[in-house]
């Protein structure tokens, strides 16, 4: 049987969902694979939910919103774009093909553009093949990576950064100091990597107590760096020393927050 990808679309009500309707009204034909979820704004698309969708086996996720300047809520799509960039960075760390995720702008009058994008994206997913996370036996390493990415996407630090990016870059902080986009991206890159690694460590020590040495080995990470993350995680109440083997402390995960 030929591979029929499962594609989930998150579309804003005002532009892209209307564009999808117009494609139908105009009887423009496109592949059947996409399943559309209507949201009021692309700004509503939470990276955590997109990651959830991928973890649960979507072969592709297509997020669509209004073109810049056309957003029904003025700036929702700007926030969507920023969240999406963070999401892309996280995905890049997980080994899942980045091509499974796409953000596009489609207006209410662009029925044929909608159909073109869906056609093209469906073909792209067909070329990539089934998601390694789909089916009964998802790839375990990748699954853990994706769970770490999801945890990172839910973290306070990344969400604050994404939520404040526009303000910090365009308007500056309370002292009127503006960050350049490059500076911000550097801060963001570091934060994404750190949050991802910490989430990964957390998920690993939740399964079994592990030493810094073992963690650094499994993560392919310099042990000094691994230690630094562990120290930070201890401070945030994410991990604690579970027991000591000889002179080596083994860390365990603590229940966090909600």
């Amino acid at each position: 049987m030929t591979f029929e990808p499962r594609i989930v679309g998150f579309l804003c009500n005002w532009c892209s969902y209307a564009g999808a309707d117009l494609a139908g009204v105009s009887r423009i034909q496109y592949p059947t694979n996409i399943r559309i979820i209507r949201l009021m704004c692309s700004g509503r698309v939470d990276p955590v939910i997109v990651l959830d969708t991928l973890i649960n086996g979507a072969d592709g996720v297509l997020v669509m919103g209004c073109h810049f300047g056309d957003c029904h809520y003025t700036v929702g799509n700007f926030y969507a774009e920023r969240k999406f960039r963070m999401l892309k960075k996280l995905i890049a760390l997980t080994d899942l093909e980045g091509g499974r995720l796409r953000l596009e702008w489609v207006s209410a009058s662009e029925g044929s553009r909608f159909a073109d994008i869906v056609r093209e994206f469906t073909n792209q997913i067909k070329t990539l093949g089934p998601s390694p996370l789909a089916g009964e036996n998802p790839k375990r390493d990748l699954l853990q990576n994706m769970q770490a990415a999801q945890m990172a996407a839910a973290s306070f630090r990344l969400r604050v950064l994404v939520g404040r990016e526009k303000g910090l870059v365009d308007e500056g902080n309370v002292y009127g100091e503006k960050l350049s986009q490059e500076e911000f991206d550097r801060v963001m890159d570091d934060a994404v990597t750190a949050e991802y690694l910490r989430s990964k460590i957390y998920l690993m020590v939740r399964k079994e107590p592990l030493s810094v040495k073992e963690l650094s080995k499994r993560l392919g990470l310099d042990s000094q760096k691994a230690l630094r993350h562990i120290v930070a995680m201890k401070r945030h109440g994410m991990v604690a020393v579970g027991r000591v083997e000889g002179t080596t402390p083994l860390y365990i995960a603590l229940e966090m927050g909600r």
């Binding site: 139908g24 034909q29 979507a58 700036v75 306070f156 969400r159």
Partner: protein, 568 residues
């Protein structure tokens, strides 16, 4: 606000939409499938769920099967959700316990040649809707007052017609026109087809009526700077030419900014030879009586219109304008030879074809040209224009020397239309004209409540058509203003105070300023100001914000259902 949780009892109504859905999707199969879904206690198919019979079926279903959730699988919620919601409400089910599955616009119409796959997709879409419906919560809509006043942007005939119509119903109207005087395009026209009355006569009447109407506030040499708020409560800032700004509040907004005439610089010698002019310039000559008795006049139709790329549309008015002006020249100077070079002569409607016949009787010569071989134009030493045209019916080149060449050019979007569209958050289409919510069902509404469009701002039209639309738009805008109080969407964000850390991220990013920190230092949403975009919920660092009707759980349930997984 949330009633006691009771187990979902979902009813699914699947529409054939005549053959629109039923001709592609196997509807009975989808009905049977729906019955197997968790929470579904009843499912049926309807020929047209939106018909009065279909609506009664929903109500009967609710009563008979004690339904507390309703799903209609049919067309798009963008057009039909209000109708089905109303049916639920009448049958005692909170309208926010209704969900739609779009199996026509986004399924049967888009997959007409793949009935099996379309049927599978329709089942998935119903399953997704059911997954969401299980988690839906009843919501209450806050009530707001509607200010009995309207802003009309633009000051042409459409604007003034709508203004008078609203003012005569007792509403206050603000007309904002960027030009120093009212009148718009009509100021530049001579005679109006089909009645051949003077444009200036009708215009001065309506301008006088507007100026003398106490309920109409006319602001000329003024532009709209900023619009905030929502239906019933828009806050408008306008700026006069001298930089002075004024604010006022209105309940509704009408876009009547008109259109501009395309200047065909570089085409057929326009801009190069001074006896190559547009129809609009010809109107001026006729109006001022400055057209001498020329020996010959040639008109070329579809100049810069109905192109392969770019301005692909037909401007609708040019064929009649050319006929009208050609006839008028013949009346003034019967010996003048008038040629109309056309691609297709579109004299649509009940009055216009007669003009075509009369023009032929008067001896006006019609030559069909084709897009592939457009007429070639050059100026002779004596100043006359020579036009070489391939006569598509004779199949040979024809050469005409003319005193005057008149180009029929299309109406194009008004300068600044894009900026205004962004200011009001309403769309323009690919041609740059304002784009309605639905071509048939809501032809003069925007998707945004309380904002409407009429006249040539929407698409090329003649005066009669613009006036009809202006009457239409006035009655549309009058509805919420006459009702005075409106219920606004209950789909708003809400903060879980026990989780909020008071970081203030949402306060900054809300485009409406609907979120403020309260005295306890936690975020609080002002519901009537919240427009329900959900950006705050997707950004909240503590994930403390719930976007009602699009909650994380509901969206996640839909996504997992799309993947054939059961939401846990």
């Amino acid at each position: 606000m949330e009633s006691k949780e009771e187990a979902p009892r979902i009813g699914v109504f699947i529409c054939h939409c005549g053959i629109n859905i039923g001709g592609v999707v196997n509807v009975p199969e989808v009905v049977e499938y729906s019955k197997t879904l968790l929470g579904v206690v009843y499912a049926e198919d309807n020929l047209y769920t939106c018909s009065s019979e279909g609506i009664s079926k929903i109500k009967e279903g609710i009563a008979k099967h004690n339904l507390n959730r309703v799903i209609v699988a049919s067309c798009t919620p963008r057009t039909h959700e209000p109708l089905f919601r109303a049916a639920c409400e009448e049958a005692g089910v909170n309208k926010y316990l209704f969900e739609m599955a779009n199996i026509r616009d986004q399924c049967s119409w888009a997959h007409m040649h793949e009935p099996e796959k379309a049927t599978e997709k329709a089942k998935d879409l119903v399953r997704m809707a059911v997954a969401k419906a299980r988690l839906l919560k009843p919501l209450e809509e806050p009530e707001i007052d509607v200010a009995p006043s309207a802003l009309i942007v633009g000051g042409g005939v459409s604007s003034m017609t709508a203004a008078l119509c609203l003012a005569n119903q007792g509403f206050k109207v603000h007309i904002v026109e960027r030009e120093p005087e009212l009148g718009g395009m009509l100021r530049h026209l001579h005679k109006l087809y089909p009645s051949m009355e003077d444009a200036s006569q009708g215009l001065s009447q309506i301008v006088n009526s507007v100026n003398s109407n106490k309920s109409i506030d006319v602001l000329t040499s003024t532009v709209v700077k900023e619009v905030k708020g929502f239906i019933g409560n828009f806050e408008v800032t306008v700026e006069r030419m001298n930089g002075e700004t004024t604010n006022f509040g209105v309940g509704t907004i009408i876009v009547a900014t008109g259109a501009a005439n395309f200047e065909p610089v570089g085409m057929y010698g326009y801009g190069e030879y001074d006896n190559v002019i547009t129809q609009l310039q010809l109107e001026q000559l006729l109006k001022n009586g400055r057209l001498e008795k020329p020996e010959k006049v040639v008109m070329i139709q579809c100049v810069g219109a109905r192109e392969e790329k770019g301005r692909t549309y037909c401007s609708r008015i040019c064929c009649m304008t050319a006929l009208k002006n050609a006839m008028h020249i013949k009346e003034l100077s019967p010996d003048t030879d008038v040629y109309i070079l056309f691609r297709d002569l579109q004299t649509y409607g009940t009055h216009h074809e007669d003009w075509h016949r009369r023009a032929q009787d008067k001896g006006i010569k019609f030559i069909k040209y084709v897009l592939e071989k457009p007429p070639q134009v050059a100026q002779r030493e004596d100043g006359k224009i020579t036009i070489n045209v391939y006569h598509a019916l004779l199949g040979e080149e024809v050469k005409i020397s003319s005193d005057l060449l008149v180009l029929s050019t299309p109406l194009i979007p008004q300068e600044g239309a894009k900026e205004l569209s962004q200011l009001l958050k309403v769309p323009v289409g690919p041609d740059g004209f304002f784009f309605e919510a639905h071509v048939k069902l809501r032809p003069i509404d925007f998707a945004t409540d309380g904002i409407y469009v009429c006249g040539t701002a929407h698409s090329p039209k003649d005066v009669a058509e613009s006036v009809s639309q202006a009457f239409g738009v006035a009655s549309r805008a009058a509805i919420p203003m006459a009702v005075k109080r409106l219920r606004v969407e209950a789909i708003t964000a809400t903060v879980d105070e026990s989780v909020c850390s008071g970081c203030g991220t949402c306060v900054k990013l809300c485009p409406y300023g609907a979120i403020q920190k309260d005295e306890k230092g936690v975020a609080k949403v002002t519901s009537v100001v919240c427009k329900g975009c959900g950006t705050c919920a997707a950004s909240c660092p503590e994930r403390a914000i719930t976007m009602r009707h699009f909650t994380d759980e509901q969206v996640r349930a839909q996504a997992l259902a799309a993947l054939g997984r059961v939401y846990a």
